[in-house]
Amino acid sequence: MNSMETTKTFWLPDQASTFAGRVDWAFDLFLWISTFFFVLVVGLIALFVIKHRRRRPDQMASGQMAHNTMLETTWTVVPLLIVMGLFFIGMRGWWHMRIAPSNSIAIDVVGMKWKWTFNYMQGFSNDTLVVPVHQPVRLRITSTDVIHSFYIPNFRTKVDAVPGRYQALWFEATKTGVFPVLCTQYCGTSHSYMITAVKVVERAEYDTWLSDAASASGGDVAPDAFGATVYSKRGCNACHTVDGSAGIGPTWKGIWDHHVKLADGSTVEVNAAYIKQSVQDPTSQVVEGFPPIMPSYKGILSDREIEAVTAYIQTLK
């Protein structure tokens, strides 16, 4: 960890994201409020226990105060105001955490027993998260088996990875270094070993790493070649052929720029818009003679993958 200055305190770990300052401020604020009330209550108890201790066995209380409207109103209103203030502080911080800036880079995260996989949009995956410093990063997180939870203590952020759902989380790292990524939702035998790291690097280093990693895993191939990969890896080939024979769905061969007849009798030209719509909302434009059974790939295939598929279809003359 090459952090220049440490911001670690007795209570909280080193700060390494834009959230940390806000969260820690709220934490510290309430720590002081807590300390005040704790000392007040325990101090009063100690004072009363000593001052009003029973000196003779038959000694009765020196007074029987049962009510004091002024006192009771005060200690109702003051805590109420404090907690409402805390609610607004917490809510503002939370909303800030929920809305990713539009210039974020997107990375997909998949949790499984017991590892994290980071799928970069450049078409490769990695088992540690590498991100540039001072750059908003948006993660889209899911799980393939049980519920996990994606937690970076130094960034003060966390979200559950739920199978069958995609959850969003974003952050902007503020210092370079290597920080632990932990699973915080109990997931079985190696729950506590489901640890990886987020490596925050300078922008230039990130760009170099990205192109190296992409080329090492074939990620910098031409769009049509990547489209062929998507075709075979993402399950398109289960229903669509590329040799002109009929499958469960229409073949992809020779359809580009041609018109096809739809089940509702209309015709449509096969172009980029049509392909994108057919991927994301397949039952809206069903080709005549085929059942409307294709599931939507909206959110499953990225825009880059859809573009690659489009490029691939263009090559299938």
């Binding site: 309430f30 009363f48 029973r54 502080i89 203590p153």
Partner: protein
């Protein structure tokens, strides 16, 4: 039955093991709950003790991670479903509620023994599950992890289901008893605060527990038939399971802690000879917490994937539960003012309760702050927070209550010196164990971790030392009570000078039907006189 038999003490009225097992006497049922709960508290504590030893080092010690997962699951299930939920109502509530009301028994004595049988049945199944493999789902049974068809988990689900019915029937019995069985003159505002607390608890038991029951049924059905309700692989929604689960389990937090409020109110009033400051507030706030408690379950799921709007609303409502709790602490503290305070063993536990509950409450508020909760969620901070409430508040109040009512239940006085030594050891042990867990948690150490980052070792070691002190204190407290059964002095009717009916009107130990003649109530439960100058 002869009049003679009715007027001898309940421990001697009908002898023999069988007469205890088939009894419908609420006092004997209370004592049998007490013995069962102490047994399971030791069992659950032993599990905790073992895995705390393992956590001395981040490396593998004397158990594998699967064993560790099994141990914390057993610790959680036993402590929640067999100890803290049935604890104070089952043991102290059963024994005291009819006497404090001036009644001969609960409204439904046979239903009461049925509750105990269900408790034993559930407990037996939970123990039986140990022979069927290793339950490892955690006490929360989250899907899809709990859908692994592990037979031990399935038996455990069944056990929790049966224990739920035990809890429902107890709550139902208490509510009806409080409504219908009060002695002449026992108006609602002359009820001891312990009774009010049991009333609020009863409402939650009756209305929240059935939701747990159906959740467990659906989990079992999902395991066997694969319907697709909770299992994402079949199109189900695991988050829905969490909603169902917490709809019960958040009110369950109040089922756990509200009876402790009642016990502590009694203890503080008696040992400071003071009327409770703001009696009506404490009474109503228990009921208010009950109602708000039904609306805040979502705060267990801030990072689970609810809509942002739901998260915001649940956070907002959560803060409203904080205010009545805070006011109660102020009320109890103010009750001490001008009192005649004696630091007996029960009072030491009551003051510990105030200390621990203040920490438990304040850490609860910080977990309600949304942005901060994202960081703290599912870390040791949360573990420490709910132990400050469930152990540091509820169990401490429970032990204090056992000490307080021990002379009434058994007719024997305990040794005061050893009682105080036990109380101090428990106080030190508990806080050493759990305070460091707050620091560990906010530093980012997740819960349910068998293996942890090296930097947390020192906190784990302090915590483990604390647990040894705590165990020492708890056994001191227990043996002190057990020894008193043989060597303790005979207890007078009202050794503490308290004002509630069990002390002023019932013999020590009480007779079979509690009172030789029905008491007529003419004053409040805490109408202590003022010292004449």
């Amino acid at each position: 039955m002869s009049a003679h038999q009715e007027n001898i003490n309940y421990l001697k009225a009908r002898k023999g093991f069988l007469n205890w097992i088939v009894t419908v006497d609420h006092k004997r049922i209370g004592l049998m709950y007490l013995a069962s709960i102490i047994f399971f508290f030791i069992a659950g504590g032993t599990y905790a003790f073992l895995f705390r030893m393992e956590l001395w080092s981040p490396l593998q010690g004397f158990m594998t991670s699967d064993t560790y997962n099994h141990l914390f699951t057993m610790h959680g299930v036993i402590m929640v479903f067999l100890v803290v939920v049935p604890g104070i109502p089952g043991a102290l509530g059963n024994f005291l509620l009819p006497i404090q009301l001036g009644a001969k028994d609960l409204a439904f004595p046979k239903l009461n023994i049925t509750s105990l049988y269900l408790y034993w049945g559930g407990a037996t199944l939970a123990l039986f599950s140990l022979t069927q493999g290793r339950a490892d789902s955690g006490w929360t049974f989250y899907a899809p992890y709990s859908l692994s068809q592990n037979p031990a988990v399935l038996w455990m689900l069944t056990a929790a289901f049966i224990l739920g019915f035990s809890s429902i029937l107890t709550g139902l019995n208490f509510i009806v008893t409080i409504h219908k069985m009060r002695a002449p003159g026992m108006t609602w505002f002359r009820l001891p605060l312990f009774v009010w607390a049991l009333y609020a608890t009863g409402i939650m038991q009756v209305f929240a527990t059935p939701v747990l029951a159906i959740t467990l049924v659906l989990l079992l059905v999902e395991n066997f038939l694969h319907i697709g309700i909770f299992d994402p692989a079949l199109g189900g929604d695991p988050i829905m399971m969490q909603h169902f689960f917490w709809f019960y389990s958040h009110p369950a937090v109040y089922i756990i802690v509200v009876p402790a409020f009642g016990v502590v109110s009694e203890l503080i009033a008696t040992f400071s000879r003071k009327t409770i400051f703001g009696y009506k507030f404490i009474a109503f706030s228990s009921v208010a917490i009950t109602i708000i408690g039904f609306l805040v379950w979502g705060h267990h799921m801030f990072v689970a994937g609810q809509s942002d709007v739901a998260v915001t609303i649940f956070s907002f409502l959560t803060f409203f539960t904080a205010v009545p709790s805070a006011i109660k602490v102020f009320n109890w503290t103010t009750t001490l003012y001008q009192g005649s305070i004696k630091l007996t063993t029960p009072m030491l536990y009551a003051l510990q309760f105030l200390f621990n509950f203040t920490i438990g409450g304040l850490t609860g508020i910080i977990l309600g702050i949304l942005s901060v909760d994202i960081h703290l969620h599912d870390t040791y901070f949360v573990v420490s927070h709910f132990h400050y409430v469930a152990m540091g508040s509820t169990m401490i109040a429970f032990i204090g209550g056992i000490y307080y009512w021990w002379p009434k239940m058994t007719g024997k006085m305990f040794n005061e010196t050893w009682g105080r030594i036990g109380a101090v050891l428990v106080f030190i042990g508990f806080n050493v164990t759990f305070f460091v867990q707050l620091i560990m948690g906010s530093q980012g150490s997740p819960r349910r971790y068998y293996h942890y980052l090296d930097q947390f070792q020192i906190y784990h070691q302090i915590s483990t030392v604390g647990v040894v002190i705590l165990a020492l204190g708890l056994f001191t407290a227990l043996f002190n009570l057990l020894i008193s059964l043989r060597t303790g002095a005979t207890a007078p009717q009202n050794p503490w000078g308290a004002r509630t009916l069990e002390w002023t009107h019932a013999a020590t130990p009480p007779v079979l039907y509690n009172f030789t003649e029905t008491p007529i109530v003419t004053e409040g439960p805490y109408d202590y006189p003022v010292e004449k100058v």
